[in-house]
C-alpha cells in the first residue's frame, strides 16, 4: 500500500495486466508519443497527460501502439483485434472524439455477441477522459457516459478515486465484454492509498462512501467527491446522508439505490452530464417506478444546464454541479414536508 495518484493507479493497472497477460495491448494517439519524431525518443509523451508513460519501455512497440489520428480505424481495429484473440486497451484521449468512431463502438463491438447469436467475445477496453473543469470548452469537456450506457452490449465504468480506478480497470481488462472506462480529467493528480498488488472491483456493485439516515445522494465519478464534501458540511447541521457511488453506470446497481431510498425516503442525484436523458433521469425514473411509496420528498437532480460546456471560468463554474449546489438540493429535500390534504 502506498500513496498513488489517479494517473499512477491507472498506469499501474495497465502495467500489471500487461505483465500478467501477453494478449493485453495498448493503442491510441500518442500512448507512447514520439514515433517518427526527430528526437528519437519513442515514448516522449506516454499519453497526452502522461498516463501511459513508461509502458513502451517495458512492453515494446508491438504492444504499445501509437496510432495515426484516425479514431474510426483504430477503435475499429481494437474491436476487430478483440474479436480475434487479443485483449486491446484503446485510448480515445478525449471522450468527445467518439463522434469520429461511434459506429465501430455502437454498431460493431457492442453488437457482435448478440447479433452473432452468442458466438463472439469482444474483450475490449476503451479508455477516455471526460468532464468539465479544465477550461477545455465544448469539444473537450463532455461527460458522455449516458451515451454509452444507452447502448446494450457495452459496460460503462466511471471511477471516483485512485483506489477505485485501479481495481475497476483491472476488472475491465479481464472482462470479456466491451467496456468503456471514463476517467475524469480533473482527477489525475488526486492521491490516496492504493494497494501495490493487483486487485479487482466487481462491476454493478455500488460503494457506499458514507451511510446516513436523512437523504440518499447518488453521484457519479468525480461528483462522488463533491457529494461527500457536501455531506460533511450537512452533517454539522444535523442532516446525515448516504452517498452512493454506483461505480458502473452499466450494469447499474439498482438494488443498492432502492434499498437506500427505502431507508431515507429522500433522494438527490448528482450527475455532471447534460441533463436530458442522463444518469440522473435514469435513476429518478427507477426510483419513481420502484420506490414511489418510500419517497417523502420530490427527487432532486443536481445537473448542468442543457448547454454545451462553456470556456470562460466564470461560465464553466456556473455550468458545473458544485458542493454548494448539492448542499442546497439536500437541504431542500430534507426540509420538504408533504402538505396535509384539506
Amino acid at each position: 500500500m502506498s500513496r498513488k495518484s489517479f494517473r499512477q493507479a491507472i498506469n499501474e493497472a495497465l502495467r500489471q495486466e500487461m505483465r500478467r497477460d501477453p494478449r493485453v495491448i495498448l493503442m491510441g494517439e500518442d500512448v507512447a508519443g514520439g514515433r517518427g519524431g526527430t528526437s528519437g525518443v519513442k515514448d516522449a509523451w506516454g499519453g497526452v497527460l502522461g498516463v501511459t508513460k513508461g509502458l513502451l519501455t517495458e512492453f515494446g512497440e508491438d504492444r504499445v501502439l501509437d496510432t495515426p489520428i484516425t479514431e474510426a480505424s483504430y477503435i475499429g481495429a481494437a474491436a476487430g483485434a478483440a474479436a480475434t484473440g487479443l485483449r486491446p486497451v484503446a485510448e480515445l484521449m478525449f471522450v468527445d472524439f467518439v463522434g469520429c468512431c461511434l459506429d465501430q463502438i455502437m454498431n460493431q463491438a457492442a453488437k457482435f455477441r448478440y447479433m452473432f447469436g452468442g458466438k463472439a467475445r469482444t474483450p475490449l477496453v476503451i479508455r477516455a477522459m471526460y468532464g468539465a473543469g479544465f477550461n477545455a470548452a465544448a469539444q473537450h469537456s463532455q461527460a458522455l457516459y449516458p451515451l454509452f450506457t444507452h447502448i446494450p452490449g457495452l459496460k460503462v465504468v466511471v471511477p471516483s478515486s485512485p483506489y477505485e480506478a485501479k481495481g475497476l480497470l483491472i476488472e475491465a481488462i479481464r472482462d470479456d465484454d466491451p467496456v468503456i472506462f471514463l476517467e475524469n480529467k480533473v482527477m489525475y493528480d488526486d492521491e490516496e492509498d492504493v494497494p501495490d498488488e493487483p486487485y479487482t472491483i466487481p462491476f454493478g456493485e455500488a460503494n457506499l462512501t458514507r451511510e446516513g439516515d436523512d437523504v440518499t445522494i447518488v453521484a457519479f465519478g468525480r461528483m462522488v467527491n463533491l457529494a461527500n464534501q457536501a455531506a460533511d458540511r450537512l452533517e454539522k447541521d444535523g442532516i446525515s446522508c448516504t452517498v452512493i457511488d454506483p461505480r458502473t453506470t452499466s450494469p447499474l446497481d439498482t438494488g443498492t439505490i432502492l434499498d437506500c431510498v427505502a431507508d431515507t425516503g429522500r433522494l438527490v442525484i448528482v450527475d455532471e452530464s447534460s441533463p436530458r436523458c442522463n444518469l440522473a433521469t435514469d435513476v429518478a425514473a427507477l426510483v419513481a417506478e420502484e420506490a414511489f411509496d418510500a419517497l417523502k420528498a420530490p427527487i432532486r437532480r443536481v445537473v448542468p444546464p442543457h448547454t454545451p460546456v462553456p470556456f470562460a471560468t466564470v461560465l464553466e463554474n456556473l455550468y458545473m454541479p458544485s458542493v454548494e449546489k448539492i448542499e442546497a438540493a439536500v437541504r431542500s429535500v430534507a426540509a420538504y414536508r408533504v402538505k396535509e390534504e384539506a
Partner: protein
C-alpha cells in the same frame, strides 16, 4: 497457372452453391416468407470464391451487407445460413442477426455487416491479431465501390500501411453504391488510392474465376509474407437490385441481361475447364445436382425449424452482466 483438381472442384462447388442459394432466395423472398432485407450476390460469385480459395480457417475475412457469397466461400454451413435468413432458432446466429449479420468466428468469418465501411477497420484489428499472435494468417476486407469512399475505409488503408499489417483490401466494384453509379460517386481511381497509401494494387475481371484466383493469390501472398497490405480491385456486376424488390430503374435496359449472357462465371468456368480437359462435364453435372439437393434440403429444414423463443430475447447481450 496450375490449379489443383481439388481446388477447381471445391471452387466450382462454392460458386454453384452461392448461385443456387441466391437464386432460390430471389424466389422465396417474393413469397413474403423471409423477413427483413436480402442483398443478393448473383453475378459476383467468382470474386468471393477466387479470393477465399487462398485462405484457411486461420485467416479472417470481413464482409458487407451483400455477404452470403463471402460466407459460403469461407465455409459457413449453408443450412445454418438459410435458417438464419428465415429467422429461425437453428440459424447460425440463432435468428438474432439475419441476412446482414451472418458470422462464424470459428471459421474466421467476422461477419457480414450492415454498415457500409464497417469491415475495413475490423480487418485492421484482425490483421493485427494475426501479426502479434504470429499465426501466419492474413485478414481480408471485402467492401464495395460505395464503401471505398467511406472515411473508415480510407483510414484503414492508412493504418494498415502504417502498422504494416497482413491485410488485403478487396474492392468489389459492381458499379453501383445502392442506386448511384460509381462513375459519379468515386473520385479518382482505386489504383491511385492504393498508390497514395503506398500499397501494391492488383485488379482483375471479377466474373472470371481464373483471373480472380491468380491476382488474389499475388495480393494475399504479398500480405502473408509480411510486406504489408495490398489492394485488390475486382470488376464485376450484380444481377439483382441493391436489395430484393429494387426494380433497378437506374440501370439501362438490357444491361443485366447482357451481363448474364456474356459474363456468367459458372458458364465460363465450365467452358474453360472442359475445353482444356481439367475437369469433365459429368463431374460438374454431379456437383450441380448435389448442390441443388443441398439447397432444397436447407430451405425445407429452415422452413420447418423452430422459431426463437421469448427467453432468447434476453440471451447473449453480454458474456456476463
Amino acid at each position: 497457372m496450375q490449379i489443383s483438381r481439388d481446388i477447381l472442384t471445391r471452387s466450382y462447388r462454392a460458386m454453384r452453391t452461392i448461385r443456387d442459394f441466391e437464386e432460390r432466395l430471389h424466389v422465396e423472398f417474393a413469397t413474403g416468407e423471409i423477413p427483413g432485407f436480402v442483398h443478393l450476390y448473383c453475378g459476383e460469385e467468382a470474386s468471393g470464391v477466387g479470393v477465399c480459395a487462398h485462405l484457411t480457417d486461420t485467416d479472417t475475412i470481413a464482409s458487407t451487407h451483400r455477404g452470403h457469397g463471402h460466407c459460403i466461400a469461407k465455409g459457413v454451413a449453408v443450412d445454418g445460413m438459410m435458417a438464419e435468413i428465415y429467422g429461425r432458432q437453428t440459424g447460425v446466429c440463432r435468428g438474432k442477426g439475419g441476412s446482414m449479420h451472418i458470422a462464424d468466428l470459428s471459421l474466421g468469418m467476422l461477419g457480414a455487416n450492415g454498415i457500409v465501411g464497417g469491415g475495413p477497420p475490423l480487418i485492421c484489428g484482425a490483421a493485427l491479431s494475426h501479426k502479434l499472435l504470429k499465426d501466419n494468417g492474413v485478414a481480408v476486407a471485402f467492401y464495395g465501390d460505395g464503401a471505398s469512399n467511406e472515411g473508415s475505409t480510407l483510414e484503414s488503408l492508412n493504418l494498415a500501411t502504417v502498422w504494416q499489417l497482413p491485410a488485403v483490401f478487396v474492392v468489389e466494384d459492381n458499379g453501383y453504391g445502392e442506386a448511384t453509379g460509381a462513375s459519379y460517386a468515386c473520385a479518382g481511381t482505386q489504383k491511385d488510392r492504393a498508390a497514395g497509401f503506398g500499397m501494391p494494387y492488383f485488379e482483375c475481371d471479377g466474373t472470371d474465376f481464373f483471373a480472380v484466383y491468380e491476382t488474389a493469390g499475388e495480393a494475399i501472398s504479398h500480405a502473408r509474407s509480411g510486406k504489408g497490405p495490398a489492394m485488390l480491385h475486382v470488376h464485376l456486376s450484380r444481377w439483382y437490385g441493391h436489395f430484393e424488390g429494387d426494380a433497378m430503374t437506374y440501370r439501362a435496359e438490357g444491361e443485366v441481361a447482357r451481363e448474364r449472357a456474356e459474363h456468367d462465371c459458372l458458364v465460363n468456368f465450365r467452358k474453360h475447364v472442359t475445353e482444356i480437359s481439367l475437369l469433365e462435364g459429368s463431374a460438374l453435372d454431379d456437383i450441380d445436382a448435389s448442390v441443388k439437393s443441398e439447397i432444397d434440403a436447407a430451405v425445407a429444414a429452415a422452413k420447418a425449424a423452430p422459431l426463437p423463443e421469448e427467453a432468447d430475447l434476453m440471451k447473449d447481450v453480454y458474456v456476463s452482466y
